[in-house]
């Protein structure tokens, strides 16, 4: 009995030792050399594996960093400048600082500003809806409100605002990885420089329709009037396809354009409140005019035999509701 046990132990140990020796030599023979620096760089990266750098994961980015001569062409948007300088010190290379960026939404078409003209009850996916139809309002450039960008965000930096039906970007959490920009079929999100003191100015509209059409569809659409273009002294505004675009590299954040925009399509973020000047009263009065316009438009629309996927009667009810919301 004890012999059997002893015999088994000896045989198995012998097999183990022989196998270990074989494996040791095989491992020596087939060894793949890997730069130890790759591991070091990988350590220094945020390990988010978000793909924001253009590589499938952090490890691939680390490999690319070790291989390349020019570190400036690579950038980890999540880790930012701190992370990149750490990588540079590990590799003994130099890297220039990059301006931190953040995603911004270029649509402000909440139900308050855009009238709903149809209902969509297909698959809850922005790209599917985009391929199928223009959108639930007369603006075929605006946000579809199904939150594909929110789903794509790996950093919980976005959420859907139930009231406005638009996604909101939490600036502190946004790493500018660009996932939401890829996800949006309407191309509404853009990476822009964070700006001095996190202040930014941008045109919050992508509508390329003619002014009248755009304005009718949405109160806060860019109507391509070129007023901001004329007001800008720094040549940072470009007019193209009936809409304005502010170049964030050239913009000096003077806010001259914000003041002249007749539809409040140009947004300023993180600026202190303006001093109460007579100019402040002006927007209030235009808001009143807008309300009157809305009512007039709503009347026109009912005349126009607009269709809807809902019964006309219900629709007028809805319009009434909208009006009520407006007055609230």
């Amino acid at each position: 009995m004890s012999d059997t046990v002893l015999f088994t132990i000896i045989t198995l140990s012998a097999i183990g030792i022989i196998a270990a020796v074989i494996l040791y030599f095989l491992a020596q023979k087939f060894k793949v050399y890997e730069d130890p620096k790759i591991d070091e760089v990988d350590e220094a990266l945020p390990s988010a594996n978000c793909g924001g750098c253009g590589f499938p994961g952090c490890r691939n980015f680390a490999e690319a960093c070790v291989k390349t001569d020019d570190l400036d062409s690579l950038f980890c948007p999540v880790g930012g400048n701190d992370c990149m300088s750490e990588v540079a010190t590990i590799l003994g290379k130099v890297v220039a600082e990059k301006t931190p960026q953040v995603a911004v939404l270029r649509c402000n078409g909440s139900p308050k500003h855009r009238e709903r003209v149809n209902t969509y009850d297909g698959a809850e996916n922005c790209t599917i809806a985009h391929n199928l139809y223009g959108g639930y309002t007369d603006c075929s450039y605006g946000c579809l409100g199904m939150g594909e960008c929110v789903d794509s965000c790996n950093f919980e930096a976005m959420y859907m605002d139930k009231e406005t039906d638009l996604p909101v970007i939490i600036q502190e959490m946004c790493t500018a990885c660009g996932a939401c920009i890829e996800a949006c079929p309407k191309d509404l999100l853009e990476l822009r420089n964070k700006g001095k003191k996190d202040r930014r100015i941008f045109v919050s509209c992508m509508n390329e329709d003619k002014g009248g059409v755009a304005k009718k569809a949405c109160d806060v659409a860019c109507i391509g009037c070129s007023k901001c273009f004329k007001a800008c002294k720094f040549d940072s505004i470009e007019m193209k396809n009936n809409r304005a675009y502010i170049d964030f590299e050239k913009c000096v954040l003077c806010r001259a354009c914000v003041k002249v925009c007749p539809t409040e399509a140009i947004h300023e973020i993180n600026f202190p409140l303006r001093k109460p000047k007579p100019a402040v009263e002006k927007p209030a009065s235009t808001a009143e005019v807008k309300d009157v316009n809305l009512v007039a438009e709503a009347k026109k629309n009912t005349e126009n035999a607009k269709v809807e996927t809902k019964v006309e009667k219900e629709d007028t009810n809805k319009q009434d509701e909208n009006k009520n919301n407006e007055t609230k």
Binding site: V117, N118, D121, G122, A123, N125, T127, I128, N131, L132, Y133, G134, G135, D138, S140, D209, V213, N304, A305, K306, V307, T309, K310, V311, E312, K313
Partner: protein, 443 residues
């Protein structure tokens, strides 16, 4: 004996309310909006200016390439504006808006109703006439007909198949056309046969139109080489590949065309349009549209000028019913909901279908229960549940290897799914993404 295709298929309720209703001429509207992108291929180039006087049948936009079609004015009057107007999907597309004044036709067009039996033109001349007159496939896909008639060298065509299946429920436009314009359809078929140089043509008709089958069978005695074949009722028999399989038992290879198995398939409406284009020199400026639905007062078949607003057709059918929930352009299976009733009728609009409120909405989506109903009804032998999951997970390599591009978008899978999952919506997304990837790979 009735034939049909073997793989998959569904039997939706037919609901052909407008069957047997005579085709009525819709009065010419006050203005028409003629969209420029009415066909598959390159958009046409507008050649008229604002304020130009146009006559019925005058070319207002020239084909923008070989795979493209001329667009003609369907009315006479003044060009009001060249503008972007909302199409059925809510996007703005370039179109020509014409204010109607009178009804003055071009002199070259033979307006008379007489049946012109003699074929005078040669094959090339027929194809040229078809091209000049902007004929496109009227089954819904709107593929320019002259492209199908120009058979590339090395391909051999043995059969012309006329698609008179009309497998979509509700629609009756083709059915009524066959009853009223039988002779014209036969002559159109003979013209197509001559253009293609084939001696055999088969007209496939589903068995739910026995009057059309017997009517055409009687007429067929007068015309040589044209055979009428009854088919079992099954959706999507009107799909090219399914129809070829049903009629001559040949299978179009994956990614191939009917030409690869020696066939050309044309819709029965196209055959009629070809007759008018060749014998009467009349461009494609009107078509038959069924206006139907469960609560529509008088479901009808209308002969409508291209560019007429959908709302006028709805008025002609007794107005929009109180309980309507959705207006669909085309049939219930493959048609698209319209975002706006001002949408003009285009060359490809075969029907205007009004759904009631309770039919219109989609039901709540439940998880897949792996019943494989979608697999058993897919006429292309795909696995719709799998394609949907893969698309949701963005695994597009596998979407491609699972042959998503073979999907004919018939909607049988979504129709049959007991969990009411939006299978087709996701497969379409998968298809469009895969084709994008393939295109970028080629570059």
């Amino acid at each position: 004996m009735l034939k049909t295709f073997k793989l998959g298929g569904v039997h939706p309720p037919e609901n052909k309310f407008s069957a047997g209703k005579k085709i009525e001429q819709l009065p010419i509207p006050k203005t028409v909006t003629i969209p420029i992108g009415q066909h598959i291929g390159a958009p046409a180039q507008i050649i008229v200016k604002r304020g130009d006087e146009v006559k019925v049948g005058q070319v207002i936009a020239k084909a923008g390439g070989f795979v493209s079609a001329n667009i003609h004015s369907s009315v006479s009057g003044k060009v009001k504006k060249l503008d972007e107007t909302v199409d059925g999907s809510g996007y703005r597309r370039p179109s020509v808006v014409i204010d109607v004044e009178g009804d003055e036709w071009l002199d070259t067009i033979d307006k008379s109703d007489t049946f012109d039996k003699e074929i005078k033109l040669s094959a090339e001349e027929i194809t040229k006439k078809v091209m000049e007159n902007g004929i496109v496939g009227l089954g819904g896909a709107t593929f320019p007909t002259h492209v199908k008639l120009s058979v590339p060298a090395g391909k051999n065509v043995s059969y012309l198949i006329i698609n008179a299946v009309e497998c979509e429920p509700y629609l009756t436009a083709d059915h009524q056309l066959m009853l009223e314009k039988g002779d014209e359809i036969f002559l159109g078929t003979q013209l197509l046969m001559k253009a293609l140089g084939v001696t055999e043509a088969i007209i496939g008709i589903e068995n739910n139109k026995p009057d059309a089958i017997s009517h055409l069978e009687n007429l067929a005695k007068k015309y040589s080489g044209i055979k009428i074949q009854g088919l079992k009722v099954k959706y999507p028999q009107g799909g090219e590949k399914q129809l070829i399989k049903a009629l001559i038992n040949r299978e179009v290879p994956s990614g191939g065309l009917p030409l690869d198995v020696g066939c050309v398939v044309q819709n029965v409406g196209t055959a009629f349009a070809v007759y008018e284009a060749v014998q009467k020199n009349k461009p494609l400026l009107e078509r038959v549209v069924s206006v139907t639905g469960k609560s529509v007062k008088t479901p009808i078949n209308l002969m409508v000028r291209i560019g007429t607003a959908t709302s006028e057709l709805v008025e002609a059918a007794g107005g929009l019913p109180e309980d309507s929930g959705k207006v669909v352009s085309g049939g219930p299976m493959m048609g698209k909901a319209m975002a706006d009733l001002t949408t003009p009728i285009a060359k490809g609009s075969s029907g205007v279908l009004i759904f009631r409120n309770e039919e219109a909405g989609r039901e709540k989506i439940h998880p897949c229960i792996r019943c494989a109903n979608c697999v058993s009804v897919c006429p292309m032998g795909l696995e719709p549940y799998l394609l949907m999951t893969l698309t949701e997970k963005h695994d597009y390599d596998r979407v491609e290897s699972e042959r998503a591009l073979d999907c004919i978008e018939c909607g049988s899978c979504s129709y049959t799914c007991p969990s009411t999952r939006p299978l087709l919506d996701y497969i379409r997304l998968g298809k469009s993404t895969v084709s994008k990837i393939i295109r970028s790979r080629k570059q």
